[in-house]
């Protein structure tokens, strides 16, 4: 048993729902107890989908358990087929139905429906959402994809499939658009995008492409590996997040497609923005990264090589990517945090005191509580992660978006200098300040009062009058940090009373 307050991933059948909901003409019949329909609102509310997910649930209750739950499942399959007339069906069980062992795959097959029926085995007590999505896509591809047909006419350009974008994916909608544009520029045709927008009949013709682009390895790597083995389609595996990775992506695509290398950086602003003088203040900002494996790895590269931040911590909740994330950590001389325990993440962030957190919506909450700037880089998603505007993470425009969304939470460079210069000015007090320099939101602090977060540094030291007066001269937006650092410094050295000297000793100790 694992004690869990908040989870980074849902159960594996939610991953299957993300595939089914992304597609057209596919229906998912899920053997599940009453209440599991909650998952519908992830799609209709968080992603604001205008249609219900194409999922029929058996919603069995206790009174059904003594009776014929298998019959209930078959009735649901028949009714779903009659009503929705899908091209193909996937069937499976949620965690509770797994325990009653009705064998949805076998039951659905005996119905003899005139469409392909693909059985999913998603062990709910071992696996999680991303694995469920990956397995579902793999099963669909395995069950439906055919090799390139003999009468297939090759187009004038090399062609690829784009694999990975799903419903409820972090910026998948916008990434896809960006990558489609990029491939168009390079001169590569897109055969099929899957699962987002694909029909089962599109999955069937995956084999027509020359190669596959694995946009989200956490979802599409298993399917791509199968296609590689079965149809000899090579896979492009560079995740094009950031300028450097996008350049690498273009290089890999052109190499695999057998076309001349090229540069296609129109509209790429990150390199110049990062070199412009205002960005000087970004140098060495201490950043903590946490997310799914591929997004965390990509964020670390962009943060360190394209914004010149210091990586002080990195972690992932995807155990499947522990190796890759550990490698990045090792390259920066730190240890990776591989956990799906939210409290572990909070504890590490509190201990590291980064200046910026690049994380998920969960870390955004941690950041709010600790008063640390934060930008979201990965699932799990929130309604805010589906902005009305085009806001990709991938490609050159994606890199522009990263620059904006990671830098804006930080104090602007020149502004920071001015604040220092005028910190003793009579008009510069706690009530006025930067439009960006906000104390933690009142909601968070009110909540903290009700539910105190575990205090990391117990305060058993006091400030003398002079030190306290000096502390008040420090701009309010760094004062909290100065106070915490000084107290930690004092505690570690057994200093009972903090004086002016302690304050400046601590500053020297923590200063870079």
């Amino acid at each position: 048993m694992q004690l869990t307050l908040w989870t980074y991933e849902g159960p594996p059948h939610v991953g299957a729902m993300r595939i089914a909901t992304a597609m057209e003409g596919l229906h998912y019949v899920l053997h599940a107890p009453q209440g599991d329909t909650y998952a519908d609102l992830l799609f209709t509310m968080i992603e604001r989908r205008d249609r219900r997910p194409p999922v029929t649930y058996t919603t069995f209750q206790a009174r059904d358990l003594g009776g014929d739950t298998a019959g209930l499942f078959q009735d649901a399959c028949r009714a779903a087929y009659e009503r929705f007339k899908p091209e193909a069906m996937i069937v499976g069980a949620s965690c509770t139905a797994e325990l009653i062992q009705d064998d949805p795959g076998g039951l659905a097959t005996t119905l003899g429906l005139p469409i392909p029926v693909i059985a999913l085995e998603l062990p709910a007590y071992q696996k999680k959402e991303n694995w469920g999505a990956s397995e579902t896509l793999y099963r669909l591809v395995r069950g439906l994809a055919r090799p390139r047909s003999a009468d297939h006419v090759r187009g004038p350009r090399p062609s690829c499939n784009i694999l990975g974008p799903t419903a409820l994916g972090f910026r998948h909608r916008d990434d896809l658009l960006e990558i489609q544009r990029l491939l168009e520029t390079i001169g590569v045709a897109v055969n099929v995008v899957a699962p987002l927008g694909a029909r089962p009949s599109d999955i069937a013709r995956l084999g027509d492409a020359d190669f596959n682009v694995v946009l989200y390895p956490e979802i599409a790597d298993a399917a791509a590996r199968y296609l590689e083995k079965a149809f000899g389609q090579p896979a492009v595996r560079t995740v094009p997040i950031g300028v450097g990775a996008t350049r690498d992506f273009i290089a890999e695509v052109t190499r695999v497609a057998g076309i001349a290398p090229l540069t296609a950086e129109a509209g790429s602003r990150l390199p110049w923005y990062s070199r412009s003088v205002d960005s000087t203040y970004l140098t060495g900002k201490r950043v903590f990264v946490f997310g799914d494996g591929p997004h965390a790895v990509a964020a670390a590269r962009v943060a360190t090589t394209e914004l010149a931040f210091d990586l002080v911590g990195i972690g992932t909740y995807s155990r499947e990517f522990a190796r890759e994330v550990r490698a990045v950590a090792a390259a920066h001389g730190i240890e990776a945090l591989i956990t799906d325990d939210y409290l572990d993440v909070e504890e590490q962030i509190a201990a590291l005191r980064p200046e910026l957190i690049l994380g998920t919506q969960m870390e955004r909450h941690i950041a709010k509580r600790l008063g640390i700037p934060c930008a979201v880089i990965s699932s799990p998603v929130h309604v805010q992660d589906f902005p009305a505007r085009h806001s990709p993470q991938m490609g050159f425009e994606g890199a522009n978006v990263l620059f904006d969304t990671w830098v804006h939470p930080l104090m602007m460079g020149l502004e920071e200098h001015l604040l220092h210069m005028f910190r003793d000015d009579f008009e510069f007090n706690d009530r006025s300040g930067s439009h960006l320099g906000k104390a933690p939101a009142p909601v968070a602090s009110a909540a903290a009062a009700v539910e105190p977060a575990p205090s990391v540094v117990p305060t058993t030291t006091r400030w003398d009058e002079g030190a306290e007066r000096e502390l008040r001269k420090i701009p309010f937006f760094v004062r909290g940090k100065a106070r915490r650092n000084t107290e930690r410094f004092a505690l570690e050295r057994g200093i009972a009373t903090i004086t002016l000297d302690t304050l400046y000793d601590a500053k020297a100790h923590f200063g870079r």
Partner: protein, 431 residues
Amino acid sequence: MTVHTLIPPRPTTASGCGDDAVLRERGQREVFCGLTSIVWLHRKMQDAFFLVVGSRTCAHLIQSAAGVMIFAEPRFATAIMEERDLAGLTDANDELDRVVGRLIARRPDIRLLFLVGSCPSEVIKLDLHRAAQRLDKSFAPRVRVLNYSGSGIETTFTEGEDAALAALVPHMPAAPRDAAPSLLVAGTLADVVEDQFRRLFADLGIADVGFLPAQRLADLPSVGPATRVLLAQPFLRDTAKALEERGASLLSAPLPVGAEGTTRWLQAAATAFHVPRERFQNVTSAGNARAELAVRRHRAALAGRRVFLFPDSQIEIPVARFLARELGMEIVEVGTPYLHRTHMAAELDLLPAGTAISEGQDVERQLDRCRRAAPDLVVCGLGLANPLEAEGIATKWSIELIFTPIQGYEQAGDLAELFARPLARRQKLAV
């Protein structure tokens, strides 16, 4: 102006739809399971912790239903069962003891721990009642450990609260044998509403009033043969039964929803406690008038409009009664996950004759009926709302009827506004 609006005693005519046929459906039920009620129960019961013994799905559900993670360490959690917990139940019990030990060590502020059963724990027959007894002994007297089931196979949404409160009833102190009659209000109310009712009961001269649940375990009200129970929520089947088993008697009343519902609800208590008619009018007339005025502001926007209510929390029938009688709306269909005829008797009497009621659900067929009827407003869950809006149908989230204070005089206008807002919004929008 106010006195004549006060309602007469229970109508004796055969109006209402208490005897009408109810459409009973069994199909896909688009409803939450009982675990969801933890979201408001843990805010109300401030020294209680809810430990769901379940799967990742359970944890994901509560997290999704709770929406925002305001609290670093919420007073609920899930002990997620893993493969090895399913293999051997002895081990599962050991694991549970370990998890609970860790939890209680971490949260010394907790006085009451609920072990909450889920679909998987029920299916593998993990005996949480025995586990709770065992843990109760080992953590006594500092922490009480109780259990109930919030599983989807046994409870629908608000029935989770019913199960939690029913588990508390045996632990309510016994009222002294010779106790004077006391009033017990059962069902979670927002604190602000609870305080309003406390003041009204005090003004009526009903001195001894308890609320279940109480904010703290130590404040659990007493119960006994002299206890008169008013239900403040419609879904308390097992709680009411448990209270009756402790000797309490149930007062029949509509729910305190809307001006009329609130007055009739208070009247039921006033009658049981022999409050003089004049005093009742003096105490309630101002609130009643305020509520009527506040509701009337929204009447123009809603009167004559046709509303379709999908089943969600069992508050649908009281709300439909309010919409029909106080706002002049036409009820196309009112769905409820479960219809308790006795508890709903006073409500059913007040519903317009011939109102279509459905119990249970086959969501696809219900959506077919809804689309055919083309109502002006649909009250439904979050899984259905945006898809219906995209089809051009105005919706109101039913979950707001549970998450926002709607009971009592001072909230009647807010309740009406909940239904007027989606229509007003559509009028304003020109995109």
